[in-house]
Symmetry: none
Subunit: 214 residues, 4 copies
DNA sequence: CATGAATGAGTGTTCATTCAT
DNA sequence: AATGAATGAACACTCATTCAT
């Protein structure tokens, strides 16, 4: 038996404050792999290293756990993006570039890209969740992008365009990438960064006034 | 009771050849409402007006029924779109406009827009279905759009652009619309046609060589 | 292997119409042994010779099954007693004797005496059941006895007494016997018939006018 | 911080000797409301103002706690009744009246009337408890009443009657009242005192020799 | 072909009990 | 003594699938 190093903790070590996050992380894995309905709480518990009963100390039901996963995954990233966009100086297109790049990297490398797929898949069964996601996530993303567009137009950088539709058209390839990564990537992997780069090039032509008459 | 001859048809004659299609139609409704996992075959049978056992005369399992729904919903529309694109004369952008309009209308009005959501949601649980859908649907859609792009470039109508990425960027708003319609439309309805129209305007700037220097 | 006789039926023999009654009978046994909460539907199913799922073909929940048990056990006996009391001629005390004897025998020999105990035990958890039982059973029993009392008084056989209380005092020893049989009989068996006989003797002194001055 | 001396009492001094009684009192409430099986120890702990673990410092299991509730509720009242009956002078019927009145008031106003219902409901699951209750409660109640009957007969006040049955017939309305109060009182409240008063009137006719020939 | 009664494995949830602190 | 986080066995209920008719 090898000696245990100094960080060794008895396996019953109570880490009460970390538990909810550990459970949420495990749940995200399982929901990501199986979808909401097919995910088994047994698996979540096992992956979190706790018993099934422990789940219910922190989350009242599978549905509540699901909502916690959505919140935990989305909100920090959203806040990061909003901070990025808020006080920044310089050309608006550069800001938009940075936002797109950040989103692209997140989609390419992190688990959170699974969330929209999960929410969309279960929107019919959990209308309340759909409303929450629309209000707390989609509206904020759209508001963020819409603010950039308005800023660009106000500064004469962007052509006048219908904000609402353009925002959706900016976001659509991100959504598609997130979906693809969690559905068809095993069949045909997607180079998200490259796709987003081309998206950015296209957006330049669509948005910038200076592109019009080179 | 006299024996009936062989041509005798009971007046409650079941249109036995229509059964599978009726079942598939009912299944599409139910899958659309609940998602694959939460859909109950009881409901499918009831909506199709048959018994649960009858389902198994035509489909070996829930999974096979699901695949049949996907095939039945997608392939006819896909063939229609391919026919539209194939032999047509005239400017490529006009062709693309027609394809987009057709897709937009389908998304706005028909049930089939639910399919991508279902496939994406269950891709993890049914990798074979994901592969099938990628091969038989996505590849063909991408091939269709890619062919148009190549045609446009060959005729000097379109600027040279990376085919593969551009195809995805053309398709992304369609996917987003399909998703939205089946997830958040109850919360915030989407005017698909208008969104696609703006998309078309943007594409004009991105694709057409003549837009560059008016 | 001994030859099976002519009544032998394949074990999958469907006896669709009998199923609910078989299940109710099994459930009565299990509820009687364990009480409502401690009764396991697995046991009920096993005792009824069906699978657990089959229970749910006929009863929507454990609670509904419980109500069905109560109804099935009580109502036939109640109707029998009411028929006994209704059209009968002769002295009222003789009628009352017959009712008491019948009740005593039922308590002594049949399963149904378990029902009041079950209902009383669960009245707090199922107020609706309590209301049903009060309305459909207790009120009818009290009405039956009250009718006899009124008849006896009208005919000058019985002394004038407060109907409502007297009815309860007539019923109380029956209830006690039913409770005892299903609680303490293993510890100290009760001779229900003898107790009821003494009860009848006491009632004679209480009720009859002719006993007063022999 | 100065060291406290040995007589120092923290101001939050727990009355540690009262703990078990507080727990028993809380448990009685919860058992009364829900029945044994449906009662949650969480609720008991919460109502007693202690943690769930503390329960197990004083009671080895839910079953032991249940027995403690039964003992605590019944024995003091029983002793009170026995003291009432023992040394008293005067007519036996007056004594019996007082016993009945005391029992009636207890049933009408106190929690303890819930106990017989609980014991009877769980007698099947806890035969040992049933035996204990029969031995320590029922036998003593019957002994108490039987002693009164014997005294009355010995003094020529009461007619000769079978002690054992008559005791049960005296007790039955009390049991019924206790049951009713905890089952159907919400549906149809019972005036226990009035019922017991009528019971007393009936008993007078049954028991007293002088009533026979006024 | 068609039925629908029957199955039984599977899962979310509860709660008495334990035990490290 | 007291806590309360953690456990895990237990159970009601669901539903895809089967099969005798």
């Amino acid at each position: 038996m090898p000696p245990s190093d100094s960080t060794d903790q008895p396996r019953w070590r109570r880490r009460k404050d970390d538990r909810p996050q550990e459970i949420v992380a495990a749940a995200m894995d399982v929901f990501a792999e199986r979808g909401y309905a097919a995910a088994r709480l047994d698996d979540v518990a096992h992956r979190a290293g706790v018993s099934k009963g422990t789940l219910y100390l922190y989350f009242a039901s599978k549905e509540e756990l699901f909502k916690a996963v959505v919140r935990a995954a989305i909100l920090p990233n959203l806040e990061r993006a909003e901070r990025l966009a808020e006080g920044a100086p310089g050309p608006t297109m550069a800001l938009l570039d940075r936002i797109l790049a950040m989103a692209g990297e997140m989609i390419a490398t992190s688990q959170v890209a699974i969330i929209p797929k999960l929410v969309i898949a279960e929107a019919g069964n959990f209308p309340e969740l759909a409303a929450f996601y629309h209000r707390e996530v989609i509206q904020r993303v759209f508001g963020l992008l819409g603010g950039l567009l308005e800023r660009g137009m106000a500064r004469g950088e962007f052509r006048p365009l219908p904000i609402d539709h353009t925002v959706r058209l900016i976001a659509a390839p991100l959504l598609m990438s997130a979906m693809w990564r969690n559905s068809f990537d095993a069949v045909a992997p997607l180079d998200v960064a490259a796709l987003i780069a081309t998206h950015r090039d296209h957006l330049r032509r669509v948005l910038l006034v200076t592109e019009d008459a080179p």
